[in-house]
């Protein structure tokens, strides 16, 4: 018998009235895996996170957490989840330790173990200094870390993090990523973020969503490989634009030419979408060498940012029109 994935979405759709926000989303997250959830604003990331967390129900399909159906077994499934929403859900009137105690009690942590558990998450999120402070007095960074701390309470099987590093300074971002990486070694983490570097640094796989549809899900390297067929070659060159464009498009392996404008001193900045063939660079160099003054030619590897933009731009937000 195979163990159920920590998170499984099976053809999940979400409708508000006649508007469909999420279209038949299906993917899984395994234990010991950190999956980055990428998408532009309004892509449906937060709605998907909320469905997995049980804040809102799917209109169609099933959300399973460790095999438990969110629609019929909400309380049991919720015990397995730590959730940090986009806006940390904090009670300003409470102090930090009272807040963590409340969440710990509701999560069913044994009375005798609560103090040690609070100590553990406070240390992980560097909250020891503010445990006695009232929440309304906390800075944005501390509020974000407190939100993460409550999600970590009870070491849940599944951690859902919506923009966990928003509002943190660079040092805190690094510490938070380390906490997530350590946690993700044994648990399942679904991490929604706009920071592409974060995804490259800590995620095992990346899910790209737009218009409520899953466009791709693979490892960061796998996604980059998938678009290697459209590598870029950048040039800085002194030339007459129309003649240059014609010369470049005549080269075999050049798919498109984008003359981005003057770089000063009569130089043009040019980007070419080319095939993965290494010979293309040499062919471009030969095609322009005799006619124009070539100052620079370089091949650009596909970054995750390019990959993301390629997927998102190729798939206009159909959800908005639905």
């Amino acid at each position: 018998m195979t163990a159920s994935p920590a998170i499984a979405l099976e053809s999940v759709s979400k409708r508000y009235g006649s508007r469909t926000i999420i279209h038949e989303l299906s993917f899984t997250v395994a234990r010991g895996e950190i999956v980055g959830f990428l998408g532009p604003n309004g892509a449906g990331k937060t709605t998907t996170m909320r469905m997995i967390a049980g804040y809102t129900a799917a209109s169609e399909g099933r959300v399973l957490v460790a095999g438990r159906d969110m629609a019929t077994d909400h309380v049991d499934a919720a015990r397995l989840i730590g959730y940090l929403p986009e806006r940390p859900p904090l009670y300003d009137a409470l102090d930090v330790s009272a807040y963590l105690r409340f969440v710990a009690k509701v999560k069913g942590i044994r009375r005798g173990a609560i103090a040690a558990e609070i100590e553990r998450v406070a240390a992980a999120c560097r909250l020891e200094q503010v445990l006695g402070d009232e929440i309304f007095k906390l800075s944005k960074g501390y509020r974000q870390r407190l939100g993460l701390a409550q999600a970590l309470l009870g070491a849940p099987e599944v951690l859902l993090l919506d923009e966990p590093t928003a509002g943190l300074d660079p040092g805190q971002i690094q510490e938070t990523r380390e906490v997530i990486r350590r946690f993700g070694a044994e648990h399942a983490v679904l991490l929604s973020t706009h920071i592409l570097a974060e995804v490259t640094l800590i995620c095992h796989r990346v899910a790209i969503i737009n218009g409520g549809r899953l466009l791709a899900i693979d490892s960061p390297a796998g996604l980059q490989r998938a678009v290697e067929a459209t590598n870029q070659v950048a040039l800085r060159i002194a030339a007459e634009p129309a003649a240059l464009r014609a010369a470049l498009l005549a080269v075999e392996g050049v798919r498109s030419v984008d003359i981005r404008g003057e770089a000063g001193a009569g130089l043009l900045e040019v980007e070419c979408q080319v095939d993965a063939d290494d010979a293309v660079e040499a062919a471009i160099a030969r095609a322009v060498a005799g006619r124009f003054a070539l100052h620079r030619l370089e091949r650009r590897e596909p970054t995750l940012e390019n990959v993301f933009l390629r997927y998102v731009q190729a798939e206009p937000a159909r959800g908005a029109a639905a």
Binding site: R50, A53, G54, Y55, T56, A57, H74, V75, D76, A78, R79, I81, Y83, P85, R87, P88, P89, L90, Y91, D92, A93, L94, A98, F102, V103, K105, V106, K107, G108, Q150
Partner: protein
């Protein structure tokens, strides 16, 4: 049960960090104290009947201020996203919060008992009548808070929740007056049965009738069930 208790404890910890709770307790105690002195000096009777009647009206108007924040503040503060994703059933959330509000009501009730000291010092009031009045007061308060909580569950705006609850509770308080306009005995009975004030009058007069007790408990149960049902439905 532990979930309900945790919600209740959180409610109690947050209630008295808000000025609203102090305001409601202070206004109620000042108001009931004034009515007590007025009634005792005006009638010269060592009884609480008149004071209870005034306390009832005060309760109907002030209970929405206690209940308005119960869920509306969770929505507007973004904490509903935590509360509704923790391993809690909607009923545990609703009951935990209701018990928190009920505790405020019991504190108010205990505060009004100061009035009894001069009553017993300088007169011979009927203890059973006073006891019945207090039972009615707590039952009426429970129903008012449950109805107020229902409106707090339905809206993100605390003021809207308070205004809607106050309007409905005043309606329940005053509906008994419509009896005078009904020629049909059945309608007269129905309107009288819905009246918060008519049932409360029985308690004030020392009558703890099953009908009155059941009425307030049923109103509370219906309102709490609707609140829990709405929380489930909005998922």
């Amino acid at each position: 049960m532990s979930g309900t208790l945790a919600v209740y404890q959180k409610e109690m910890a947050t209630y008295f960090r808000s000025p609203i709770a102090y305001y409601v307790v202070a206004v109620f105690l000042l108001g009931s104290g004034y009515f007590f002195l007025y009634n005792v000096f005006l009638t010269g009777e060592t009884a609480m009947a008149g004071t209870f009647q005034n306390m009832g009206i005060l309760l109907v108007t002030l209970a929405p201020l206690v209940s308005m924040r119960l869920l509306a503040a969770e929505y507007s503060g973004g904490t509903a996203e935590l509360l509704l994703t923790l391993p809690l059933t909607p009923l545990q959330i609703v009951v935990g919060k209701f018990l928190g509000a009920l505790t405020i009501l019991l504190l108010i009730t205990a505060g009004t008992m100061v009035d009894l000291i001069p009553l017993y010092l300088f007169g011979t009031p009927e203890t059973t009548t006073i006891l019945a009045g207090y039972i009615g007061f707590v039952l009426l308060g429970a129903a008012c808070l449950a109805v107020g909580q229902l409106f707090s569950t339905l809206t993100h705006n605390q003021i809207v929740a308070a205004l809607l609850a106050a309007a409905v509770l005043l309606g329940f308080w005053l509906v008994g007056h419509l009896q005078a306009f009904q020629s049909s005995p059945a309608l007269r009975g129905f309107v009288g049965y819905l009246s918060f004030s008519l049932h409360f009058t029985d308690f004030i007069q020392g009558l703890v009738r099953t009908e009155g007790v059941v009425f307030y408990l049923v109103i509370s149960a219906i309102a709490l069930t609707l609140s829990a049902g709405y929380l489930q439905w909005r998922r």
